[in-house]
Amino acid sequence: MTTTKHVVATIEEVPPGQHKKVHVKGRDIALFNLNGEFYALGDKCPHEAGSLCTGKVVGLAISKEPGDYQLVRPGEFVKCPWHGWEFDIRTGQSYCDPQKTRVRMYESHVENGDELAKGPYVAETFKVSVDQQYVVIEL
């Protein structure tokens, strides 16, 4: 299967800790920036299709024993806006059911405009300039 490079955002558009909904080949994709690393998840929750982009980004609450509370990996999970299911932004896996329930992940990376300019790529909503950095989803 061949894939195409889709330029979906400049890196400034999605600063660390933020996310953005983008559209590639008719699909809604939630693009997250975790401390400079970009992750592209299908926007639909696998449960009842809530839009993950409207969910709250949270840390992971864990505990050693009843009454112990720890918040780890701050900002690395997204809670579905509907039923609150938590998904690991790095893997798309559901915290409660990591084997069977996961959000589709798309390959994404950052490319310099001058590299991209060599093509081929698809950039539907803006022009690619050589002195910018872009987030690219391959699909």
Binding site: K56, V58, G59, A61, G67, Y69, Q70, L71, P74, K79
Partner: protein, 353 residues
């Protein structure tokens, strides 16, 4: 020692939950924002009701008594106390999740230190504890006991179980060890109907019923043997009303004589435990506005050591500047305003010297 009066009950108010955020862990901060946890004012004290704040103490926009400036101009500079004890009445103690309750209580205590105690040397405070979960409550007492500006441990009269029950004894043990009286303040955590016959319709009944709640709790403390077990413990009934007490002790003594064998550890009449261990704040007093009646009731208390002066600022218990009930002699006023508080709160004594 010559010191000014001690106001044993003033109420700085938590303006909104978010002021507590700096004092909460990242886990609880995220819970509070994710779930929009807010609105924890107690139904025993709805901020808009007339009782919550005297008209002249009610700022236009802010919640009454929610800033130090308000407290200074309206109460401290007016009643000129040597000390004033801040009793924060807030829903932190009523939250059903014991851990969240503990986290919020601890945050309230941090907030009292930072926003009040550190800013005005006249202020002292009660330690707010998640008393329905005594183990967590003891943790909070231990955490605060080293700061002697905390002068008592505060519980609410509306508890999950009667306060004399042994499950609460770790709280009393810790308080006694640290020289901290237990203050029981009016306030319901609503685990149960506020009256023996159910939930009354009106706020006026709810507030009035606090006095009946105090009577049940006092009886529990006595009969369960709390004062036998913890002989150095003092309990201050705060905002309980006063005038119900003579009838209460009379009935209690009468019953004890008949039924003493059921509670053989009580080596004295209930009234004696009351005189030795119980103190009450003077607002509200719940008597007509004539000095003769007030004096008569005080006579019936059989003790001039039990009453502690309190303005109950900003609650609307009296008008004008005279926070003491009428008819009290200068000599008794001095006891109520100075001697009794100092005798009750060891930590005020040490700091006053």
């Amino acid at each position: 020692m010559d010191v000014g009066p001690v106001d044993c009950d003033i109420h700085p108010n938590v303006p909104e939950t978010h002021v507590l955020m700096p004092f909460l862990s990242d886990y609880w901060r995220e819970q509070i924002t994710t779930r929009a946890i807010d609105g924890l004012d107690l139904n025993t004290y709805p901020p808009k009701t007339p009782l919550y704040a005297r008209k002249d103490w009610r700022p236009e926009k802010a919640k009454a008594a929610s800033t130090l400036e308000l407290l200074r101009t309206q109460a401290l500079d007016r009643f000129n106390p040597r000390f004033a004890i801040c009793n924060i009445v807030y829903g932190a103690q009523a939250v059903f999740n014991g851990d969240l309750s503990a986290a919020l209580c601890s945050a309230v205590n941090d907030w009292i230190i930072q926003e009040w105690l550190n800013k005005d040397a006249r202020l002292r405070a009660s330690i707010i504890v998640p008393f329905n979960d005594p183990e967590l409550a003891v943790d909070e007492i231990e955490k605060r006991a080293g700061d002697h500006r905390f002068v008592q441990v505060m519980l609410l009269t509306g508890s999950e179980m009667p306060l004399g029950r042994r499950q609460f004894w770790p709280i009393y043990r810790a308080a006694e060890r640290h020289g901290l009286p237990i203050g029981i303040h009016a306030g319901a955590t609503a685990r149960h109907a506020s009256t023996y016959t159910g939930w009354p319709s009106h706020y006026i009944e709810e507030y009035s019923a606090q006095a009946q709640s105090f009577q049940g709790q006092l009886l529990s403390l006595i009969y369960e043997g709390v004062f036998v077990k913890f002989p150095a413990l003092k309990v201050v009934l705060i905002e309980s009303g006063v005038t119900w007490l003579p009838s209460f002790t009379s009935r209690a003594d009468h019953t004890w004589r008949a039924l003493r064998a059921e509670v053989p550890w009580l080596d004295r009449a209930p009234s004696q435990f009351v005189r030795d261990h119980i103190r009450l704040t003077t607002q509200p007093f719940d008597a007509p506005e004539d000095g003769a009646t007030v004096r008569r009731i005080i006579d019936l208390l059989d003790s001039d050591s039990m009453l502690l002066f309190a303005s109950d600022y900003p609650h609307w218990q009296f008008d004008g500047d005279d926070a003491l009930p009428p008819g009290i002699s200068d000599e008794l006023a001095r006891k109520i305003m100075v001697d009794n508080p100092l005798a009750t709160y060891p930590r005020l004594r040490e700091l006053a010297q």
